[in-house]
């Protein structure tokens, strides 16, 4: 499939030098996307965490052991591995902005897309969502609750973009060039550390425009060629090195 380019390119920039792994982004994501709480959430192989914070370290012993936390939303890849494999077009990258869509009423739950994604950003809804009595009254209006048996993932809270466009129409603002703060994802707004920034990386008026061009910016597994729309930033070399796989010889070269 040929790669599609759009005028708007929604991108996320995550500063790993600020993230303390507190979990506020994950909680907000669970809430905003109506993910039902699971009694045993310690079985990470069955939880639904569209935003998941990984912990990584430099492999040294105390006291040189450094750690970093890496929040991982869906990468909304420019060349998604998941989209071409879906047999029923339940996932696609065909909308302005380049968010990879996942349509629950279309998904048949074959999980091929999960197998395709090296970031583990896709989750299968193993069981029907059950909310404690009454809690369904607090469901977010922005995401439908999914039945079991379908694959789901981070959508960059895209319904918020729809709402921002409503506001733009009302206020007579160009929907293709809205102020950055009109459309922000739940994790971005929640983060108490200002770790996450979100905007149109093609729009010089948005902060992310400059950030993705920083020499400290990198993306996960760039060499596999998925062309993610999520960038990470770190001044620590070991952190940047952990963003991809390198042979020993390449590591030496990088350090030189």
């Amino acid at each position: 499939m040929e790669k599609q380019e759009f005028k708007i390119k929604w991108g996320m920039v995550i500063d790993l030098d600020k993230c303390t792994g507190c979990g506020a982004c994950m909680v907000s994501c669970q809430v905003e996307n109506n993910i039902a709480p699971q009694q045993d959430a310690s079985n990470k192989l069955r939880t639904l965490t569209w935003m998941n914070v990984f912990e990584m370290n430099n492999g040294q012993a105390f006291p040189d052991h450094e750690i970093a936390y890496l929040p991982r939303p869906c990468m909304q890849c420019g060349s998604p591995a998941c989209v071409p494999v879906c047999p029923v077009v339940a996932t696609d990258k065909n909308e302005e902005g380049g968010i990879v869509s996942q349509i629950y009423p279309r998904c048949i739950g074959c999980r091929y897309c999960m197998g395709a994604c090296p970031y583990h950003a896709r989750y299968f809804n193993w069981d029907d969502p059950v909310f404690p009595a009454g809690m369904e009254k607090t469901l977010s209006p922005n995401t439908s609750a999914r039945p079991r048996g379908v694959v789901e993932k981070c959508s960059f809270c895209h319904t918020r973009w729809g709402r921002a466009k409503e506001r733009a129409r009302k206020e007579g603002v160009d929907t293709m060039d809205m102020p950055q703060e009109w459309y922000q994802t739940a994790c971005t707004t929640a983060c108490p550390g200002g770790v996450i920034q979100f905007g149109d990386v093609n729009n010089p008026k948005h902060s992310v425009y400059e950030l993705v061009r920083s020499k400290y910016a990198f993306r996960l597994l760039e060499r596999l060629g998925l062309d993610p729309q999520v960038w990470y930033v770190s001044k620590r070399e070991w952190v940047r090195m952990l963003g991809d796989n390198y042979l020993e010889s390449e590591k030496a070269k990088k350090h030189a």
Partner: protein, 692 residues
């Protein structure tokens, strides 16, 4: 001839063929698929008008200034309030799950009394009649009623302390907190008013123990400030150094981590002071000469012996502090409680030596807001009163309360030596819990009078400890209580009237309006979420450096029977003593922290080897006061000789999401009097670890 077999088959075939030319199979297949897309048992989302309302969420100790998104009036999302300097749009992981906690399965649905068979729902009338009868029986008798509150920042403390005082008792307490110890330490130094820290203007921040991005002070404001001082891809505008026993979440993002055992934090700070004094810095206090002499015991070499911090590292840090434009030292507990006064005093002394008091980027001192409720305890008095000490007195029979009132606090679970404390509470004949959730303390109470959830009530927030300015904010209810709960301060004011006690107000709203006026703020502003903040600082002349206290308290006392230092971890996503993990926050807990029903303690490979432990081994942690069980996670983030362990697990009440998961570390925390101040300390708890 009737219908023979062949004709029947033909008929059936005709029927089948015919059916294929009707909508039946196709429409059914399609409709069945649509049905699977809208299964009736899958929850439907709320529809309607979306609005945002400012409020205060008190699930974290500092309180978050939040903006609540409502749909047709129902809260659906708690975010940070953008224009509020305390949150700047960010929110802590505990408060982020706040809207959903409205319907927590652990919520107390209505007033209940304990009977032989367990709790029994009762009417508010019955509940209040019972309570007022109990209270009128002890009214006027000295020391027969006591109250403890977990609200560190609200004017509720004024109402409650005034009420208790009017009943003839002095026993109103706040749950232990960082701010309380700081206040006490500041008093020992002869200071008045409240201390804050100007992170925003500091260019070099040394965190001595203080876990500023998780459990110390207003975490959201601290992190937002940190973030803003370190613009992405550009040079850092401020350097952050963390000193403490664990490379915790705060240390993970600091520029430098200095391993310091928890019991040596004071010595470490004094070591820095000694270096600065050596470099010619001084403080204008009467006892500076004594102080200087005492620092002779904290030379770099001696500090290295006490704390293990290399002399060169100490000297280098002192140099960096001295050469920074706006250095700031924040000394406190690595887990938000249990530190002695000496650590704060030593930290303050370094700030004084650096000339960083009431200067931009330094330590700030400002006046407390005056109480508005007649007979309310002063802020100073609240810092003096320790609830843990009070319960010790009850245990020894030196105090014998008939009634204990508990507001938004969970002492039966969260106090150090939790098991013993919980037993002492059983000695009090009548315990009343004003709690939103069925926590461990409520479960022990004779009467539970549910308090509304923070989004359901009128509340206020006055200068959370650590914030650099005197600040005030009011929050109006976002939604009517979804359980049969009544706001406790109003209830107390009503009881006061019933008991013939005059507190000067009949509703809590009147109290807050008076408070707003006293603060000098506008009700219209603060109640809409606009933070009132004053930059007026307070003169700090006449301080002393509590040299005698420091000399005694800075020397660690290590019982060889307990070879390991315990480093508790307070993490807001796991919860606080007053809040078990929110259902939506469960996924944030790593499987190296909790797996199934087992929690993990963290030790480095060296400690693991020395104690014969391997990854996943089941162990028992034992202190002089209690024990708890866990599994071992080998993590190189922890100092050798230290075992890090999470607070917040081991719930025995609450709901299926938290009950029975892990063990309660508070049981292990051991109280000891701080030499020189007699402040009860438990940040230096020592333990032994054994495989089971």
């Amino acid at each position: 001839m009737g219908l023979d077999r062949r004709a029947f088959v033909q008929l059936a075939v005709g029927g089948v063929v015919g059916t294929l030319f009707t909508p039946i199979p196709w429409k059914l297949a399609d409709d069945a698929a649509i049905w699977s897309q809208n299964w009736p048992w899958i929850a439907k989302v709320t529809k309607g008008e979306i609005a945002f309302k400012n409020a205060i969420s008190k699930f974290c100790p500092s309180g978050c200034a939040v903006s609540v998104r409502t749909v047709e009036g129902a809260p659906t999302l708690v975010q940070g309030s953008k224009d509020n300097p305390l949150s700047q749009g960010g929110v802590c992981p505990a408060c982020a799950a706040g809207a959903q906690l409205l319907y927590s399965p652990a919520r107390v649905k209505g007033p209940m009394k304990k009977t032989q068979a367990g709790f029994e729902p009762i009417t508010w009338d019955e509940a209040l009649t019972t309570l007022s009868a109990k209270l009128s029986a002890v009214k006027g008798k000295d020391g027969k009623v006591a109250m403890v509150s977990g609200d560190q920042t609200g004017t509720t403390s004024e109402v409650f302390s005034a009420f208790v005082a009017a009943l003839g008792s002095q026993d109103f307490y706040l749950m232990p907190s960082e701010g309380q110890v700081a206040g006490k330490a500041w008093s020992i130094m002869g200071g008045t008013g409240k201390v804050g820290f100007d992170l925003k203007n500091a260019d070099f921040v040394l965190l001595v123990g203080a876990d500023a991005f998780e459990s110390w002070g207003p975490m959201v404001r601290n992190k937002k400030t940190f973030g803003s001082k370190r613009p992405v891809g550009q040079p850092n505008q401020a350097t952050y150094v963390y000193a403490g026993p664990v490379r915790n979440r705060t240390a993970a993002v600091c520029d430098q981590y200095v391993p310091v055992p928890a019991d040596s934090l004071t010595a470490f700070a004094l070591g820095l002071a000694a270096q600065l004094v050596q470099a010619g810095k001084s403080i204008d206090t009467a006892d500076f000469a004594d102080f200087k002499a005492m620092l002779g015991n904290f030379s770099a070499d001696k500090v290295e012996k006490l704390s293990g911090v290399k002399a060169a590292v100490l000297a280098d840090l002192a140099k960096k502090l001295a050469s920074a434009k706006a250095p700031l030292v924040i000394a406190g507990s690595p887990f938000g409680q249990g530190e002695g006064a000496a650590t704060f005093i030593a930290g303050a002394a370094v700030n004084l030596l650096l000339g960083q008091v009431n200067k931009p980027g330094g330590m700030k001192v400002f006046a407390d807001f005056a109480p508005v409720v007649k007979g309310a305890a002063t802020a100073k008095k609240l810092t003096e009163a320790s609830f843990a000490d009070y319960l010790s007195k009850v245990e020894k029979g030196k105090a014998s309360p008939e009634v204990l009132l508990v507001y938004e606090a969970n002492p039966a679970y969260g106090l150090p030596q939790a098991e013993a404390m919980s037993k002492v509470m059983e000695k009090i004949p009548f315990v009343v819990s004003f709690s939103t959730f069925l926590d461990e303390t409520a479960q022990k109470a004779q009467l539970i009078l549910p308090n509304p959830h923070p989004l359901e009530r009128l509340d206020d927030l006055a200068t959370p400890y650590g914030y650099s300015r005197a600040a005030y904010l009011v929050s109006l209810p976002v939604i009517k209580p979804v359980a049969d709960a009544k706001p406790t301060p109003d209830l107390i004011l009503g009881l006061a009237a019933k008991l013939g006690l005059d507190l000067g107000f009949s509703t809590y709203q009147d109290v807050l309006k008076a408070k707003t006026e006293a603060v000098g703020a506008s009700w219209g502003d603060v109640s809409k979420g606009k933070l009132f903040a004053s930059d007026v600082t307070k003169d700090v002349s006449g301080l002393n450096l509590a040299t005698a206290v420091l000399a005694k308290a800075a020397i660690p006392n290590r019982d060889p029977a307990y070879p390991l230092a315990l480093a508790p971890l307070a993490q807001l996503n796991v919860g606080t003593s007053a809040l078990a993990t929110a259902p939506q926050a469960l996924v944030t807990i790593r499987d190296t922290e909790l797996l199934g029903n087992d929690m993990f303690v963290q030790v480095c490979a060296e400690t693991a080897k020395a104690n014969g432990l391997s990854q996943g081994a089941k162990v028992k942690l034992t202190s002089s006061q209690g024990e708890c069980v866990a599994r071992v996670n080998v993590s190189e983030t922890v100092m050798p000789g230290t075992v890090a362990a999470p607070l917040g697990f081991g719930r025995t009440a609450w709901d299926k999401f938290t009950r029975g998961k892990g063990d309660n570390l508070s049981k292990v925390l051991a109280l000891s009097p701080e030499p020189g101040t007699n402040v009860s300390v438990w940040s230096d708890t020592r333990v032994k670890i054994a495989k089971i």
